[in-house]
Amino acid sequence: MRRIVLLGSQRLQPTLVQAVESVGVTGPIVAITAGWEEREDEIDELRDHLGRRVLNLRLHHRGEEVFEKDPELFRAVRDRRQTLREAHDLYRIRLDRAIQALRDLRTHGGPHALLDPAMLAALDDLRRLDDWHVARMAEIVREWDERWRPSERASLAPHLRAIEAISREAETLAVAGGNVAVLLNRLRLFGIDRTFSRHTVFAWSAGAMTLTERIVVYHDDPPFGRGNPEVLRPGLGFVGGVVALPHWHRRIRTDHVNRVRLWHHRFRPLRCAALDDGSWAVFGDGVLRAVSNGVRTFTEDGRVEDLVP
């Protein structure tokens, strides 16, 4: 059975080595740190922490090299980024309205017999909007892939061969956090989901988010306005059934039961997996199981509790 381990932030509470030992993998580990962007080579701490051979895939660097050699692809990637950004801006406009409708209904009051169905319908609108947006983003990416077929381009070929060769040297892949959009783009550009489809994977923070089927980004207290959680794009889908929420302590306000409840209802049937720093959970047989303390979920009635399968 393939094992995929999702971990909380490792920066202040590194527990990766414990998770690796607990799962019992041996041999070298391939690392993807593309979410760190230009700093992806700074893996000394990671190497020291793991105490074993680490092979850095350097996907960020490889991407930059490809774009330098293949300006046509670079322009296409840049245009796609712009398209995705604009599509996301349109989603935000609709999302604001959808969430405001829920808030307005909640404060409006009135008999439950009238209000409750209206609230449920508004929640359905929000869920449909999220579904629509994820599908739309996937469609944009799919159309782009079909048109540009990056895996068939000469500029990528040597890198894909090198990545394939590195993948054969290890049975384990570690995906670090960082910028989730940058990381996801690099993972997809280099077909990591195909090349590493059988590896045991350890992924933390943004890395964990990219492995799920739906990436949700969030910060409840931005400098301006309300911070609505947003669905970003589909992830690689290695881990089904959950929305990974690292750094949740710093980003999600759980001081009101309605906020917590909305997380649950908005994303069901996916379960929220709120990962404390240093916590970890193993995905196997279609289920995410907490191994350490600090893997939480948001319940139907608005509580934060330990995640149990």
Partner: protein, 379 residues
């Protein structure tokens, strides 16, 4: 009058000195109960007055003496969420001295010294101004440049974001009264924290300090030439500054805000981001009356700008305290800036013309100028 004081006064005829002292050590000063604030002074005096900096209120307000005791008190209604700075004026033996409230440990520093501070419920010191062990500290460099425009050498302190990469280019922000922003608004710590939290994009900040701000910041052609033609090229030559107006900002408070707007106006398209705090944007609709002679050139500039408003930047953050005399000028400027097509945020705070007010707006202002990838980075 606050309830605590009312209780004390109900026993005014039998009050003993130790009881008053005990009351003061328990309550300190001011006593804040909701929006009712009672200031207290205990000591020998022939008169005690509150000197505050709240525009539209009488700036000197007399305390009342409690019977034959040496306890003086004054009660004001202050809106919730307010932060006010004040001093006490004590008259004794024919002399008058201005002092900080001896019963209030809460003070705020500024270039002229320090004031006592009173806050009402709803105001909180932002957490992001405190050093955060998780935030990586930015670097610091200094350099001097010869200015032909201003004549003489100018010193610039530069903040470099933590983990700065030579391969990457960064937005630039020039802060006038920069040393004051660092000392009195904790701006380095704030930058470290906001960049660490991804609320603000990693940026390079040039802190400039003028030896003659009353002249140079007051819509001064030479100063704007220095900024646009000397300082900016020098910074671009020394540091990896990202191209384009959207990546260059100017900020300042009071006259520093005027200097920012003037430099952007003088060099349109060069500075795409403006952060204007409590700007001394003096204007007249008729005549030439100004509050201070140094504002004469400002008056000319702002009157001219009001006549012919132009899009001098892309994005502007304007803030002002509602207890400042400048709130009228800033409220008037906001729609004019907006009308030009610039994206303008205008924020009013229940605070005055002081550095802690300006500090408290840094998160929003910097986040508006150079928003970080807040939603996207999970390390």
């Amino acid at each position: 009058m606050t309830l605590a004081l009312r209780n004390l006064l109900s026993r005014r005829d039998t009050l003993t000195d130790p009881e008053v002292r005990r009351f003061l050590s328990e309550h300190g000063s001011p006593i804040v109960e909701g929006g009712t604030v009672t200031f207290l002074f205990y000591g020998r005096a022939t008169a005690v007055r509150l000197r505050h900096f709240i525009f539209a209120l009488q700036s000197s307000q007399a305390f009342e003496r409690l019977g034959g005791t040496e306890l003086w008190h004054l009660t004001l209604e202050v809106p919730l969420g307010s932060r006010i700075e004040y001093k006490l004026e004590i008259e004794l033996d024919g002399r008058t001295v201005l002092v900080r409230d001896p019963l209030n440990p809460r003070i705020a520093h500024d270039p002229y010294g320090a004031n006592s501070v009173c806050v009402t419920p709803g105001y909180a010191v932002p957490a992001w101004i405190q050093p955060d062990a998780e935030a990586r500290p930015g670097g610091s460099e200094s350099f001097s440049l010869q200015s032909a425009a201003l004549g003489g050498e100018r010193h610039v302190d530069v903040y470099l974001p933590a983990r700065m990469r030579p391969t990457r280019r960064y937005p630039l922000l020039v802060a006038f009264d920069g040393r004051d922003y660092v000392h009195f608004a904790s701006m380095r710590t704030v930058l470290d924290n906001l960049i660490h939290r991804d609320e603000v994009e990693p940026c390079i900040v040039a802190f400039c300090q003028s030896p003659d701000r009353m002249r140079e910041y007051a819509a001064c052609e030479e100063h704007s030439r220095f900024v646009g033609e000397e300082l900016l090229p020098a910074l671009e030559a020394k540091y990896p500054i990202r191209e384009g107006a959207a990546n260059r900002g100017l900020m300042g408070a009071s006259l520093g805000a005027v200097a920012s707007l003037h430099a952007a106006w003088r060099f349109p398209g060069r500075f795409g981001r403006l952060f204007l705090q409590s700007g001394s944007f003096a204007f007249t609709d008729i005549g030439r009356h100004v509050k201070h002679p140094v504002l004469e050139p400002v008056l000319d500039f702002v009157n001219r700008y009001r006549e012919e408003p132009s899009k001098v930047a892309e994005r502007v953050y304007v803030s002002c305290g509602v207890y400042e005399g400048l709130i009228y000028e800033n409220r008037s400027l906001y729609p004019i800036l907006q009308k030009t097509g610039m994206e303008v945020k205008f924020v009013e705070a229940r605070d005055g013309h002081n550095w802690e007010n300006w500090r408290d707006r840094l998160r929003q202002g910097l986040g508006w100028l150079f928003p970080g990838p807040l939603n996207l980075v999970y390390e």
